[in-house]
Symmetry: D2
Subunit: 209 residues, 4 copies
């Protein structure tokens, strides 16, 4: 356990730093009185139990190692929630331009949603952490999604866990209908998006006077 704590420490540090940095994006947009693409941020270090499951799945040895650090890319995980689907592209563009991290992979499950109905945009980054023994570079995953996508995904996650990935047909159908309802909500929101963005600017400008 001591070895795992030491191994996971830079990941914990990275999650703490990245949360502060991503929240900073939100603050800057607010200060400039424009619509902010960032609604809220969450972050976590993958629990040991989930790392263990992953090693089983991939037939790897369950011990802290360089190989494990390379293969399991979401040990440090951040999630950015936005109001509108279009905000996702804005955030991705902002992340690509930063000098304190390097985007090494992108997976677009929005243009190409998973068969389950899962929608989200995933980015894998390299991130350098300064430790008391020098610099360590780790991988981290940033997931970007709308509130509706996030809502649905948390439900699906629980159900998959219960049925170990083998959903009964009936439940699978209901989950699909919920995915459609979530998608529909995102669509309707997109239609009033420009109106709302205007309104938010007006709203902020008004506050300042």
């Amino acid at each position: 356990m001591g070895q795992w704590s030491l191994f996971l420490q830079p990941y914990k540090q990275a999650v703490d730093e990245l949360k502060i940095k991503l929240k900073g994006i939100r603050s800057q947009y607010e200060l400039e009185d424009v619509h902010t693409p960032v609604e809220f941020i969450t972050g976590r270090v993958k629990p040991l139990a989930s790392i263990y499951d992953k090693t089983l799945e991939r037939e790897m040895v369950f011990e802290p190692s360089e190989q494990l650090a390379e293969e399991i890319q979401d040990i440090a995980g951040l999630r950015i929630m936005c109001q509108f689907v279009d905000d996702i592209a804005t955030i991705v563009a902002t992340l690509r331009k930063r000098n304190d991290l390097e985007v090494i992979e992108e997976r677009d499950y929005i243009s190409h949603k998973k068969p389950s109905g899962y929608r989200s945009y995933h980015i894998i980054i390299k991130y350098p952490v300064q430790t008391i023994h020098g610099e360590v570079t780790i991988l981290a995953e940033i997931q970007i999604r709308t509130l509706a996508m996030n809502f649905w995904a948390s439900i699906e996650h629980s159900l998959n866990y219960k049925y170990e990935g083998e959903l009964p047909t009936e439940i699978s159908h209901r989950l699909e209908r919920a995915a459609e309802a979530a998608f529909r909500l995102d669509e309707e929101m997109s239609l009033i998006r420009d109106e709302v963005k205007d309104a938010q600017m007006y709203f902020s400008a008004f506050k300042e006077t």
Copy 2:
């Protein structure tokens, strides 16, 4: 300004305390491995500009006073977000039983949604705050809603601000359709609610072993 700071201090203190207390509800459910009705909590003291607008609207004098403290019931405001519509009743029942606050009014905008499409459950409470000069009892408002209700409400709020409550017909229509999509999502979610609640219990139990 100094007078307003002193007047608002117990409200700020109440918001800080109530946030910790409501978050405690969430922690307790999690610890007992049952579905938690509380998804997340936010809180704020009403900004002075909004208090000012309210005094204009109600033709009151804009100054710290007992009358103002009685008439503007949401100077201290808390919001509880839940996954499912049914969770709202669970939370209300829990709040009614607490000894550290007194529920003095309830407004059910879920059974009776507002013409705009607004849905939410509002509770007004009396809450005693201990100050360095003795006990002060203040009023606070707690709003309880699903994630979908909350999403829609934040959009409507921005638009109403822009148009000062007079939405153009076209925008009003779009907002209605978004309200329907949000309602639909809540309905679909309710249909798989029991499955998900089971799954969450299973999920937590599994984690423990």
Copy 3:
């Protein structure tokens, strides 16, 4: 372990609430532009390992029970640090007047310091916590001390742990000299206390203009 988590939950909740409440005292003094007796606050739930040591020492059974809750009074522990020795009395008076807790015991290790050199003011309180199953009243300990007392105490704590309470004569002497130096610092500070209190008021008033 599950049983202990459930048993300790109201203590954790109490520590969280009391930290917010005691920090509120500090904010109020600052707002009123007078010297604040509260420098900073810390809090913790007693670690299980320390609870275990205590049960050994007192020949009690190590299991969650009412008896244990009554005998070990510092399962929930808060610490208030102040700048000046005189601030301690101010804080004690403020705590005695609160309606959300009941002071049931006071131990004055400042007028009567322990043979080791330990100085601090201890208060035992009864504190009601609202849980999802109703109200639970717990005991908590609040320690009040100056920064110098706190500094010395943390050093003594480490040393006692190492030597299991049996300090070698040489180390015991050095610790005594450090206690004297800490006491001396408190004395010198007391002598300029009124000057500084004035200065702080002036300082704050100046800021406001």
Copy 4:
């Protein structure tokens, strides 16, 4: 005011990030069961009123500018408090090795204390902040001191403010005696430092088993 908010935003962001990073140093030492040189961290952005005073003192124009950013080096300020005088050198060495900041100046007011009795170690760093418009490099000041140095410094600061730097002889004498008492405490603590460091290691090791 809007211009100042925009100008100060990267400084605020830097303070938030550096607090998380410096706290990380503490966590790492704790995890490795060795004495941590970092006791606690504070940080702040210099208030506008203090920036204004500084511009008066240096006969500069009070407006956001590159010149101001270069001349006032402590707009972003961090403070690291330690238990022992020797810890200061350890922290300085750690900071010099980091790749996410550049130390550009050091002022050692410990070997060379100020005439007032002020002791502290100051470091000026260059720190790159990622904004939504690209990278901005700012200056920040990190002050490193023992708890006793910090205690004395906060008292001196209040008094100097009150008397605008012209302390009456009597008060000046008292302040000197307090500085001596603080120095004395640091000396006594240094003498038991190795004992305590051992004890802390033992203490942590013991906890782990």
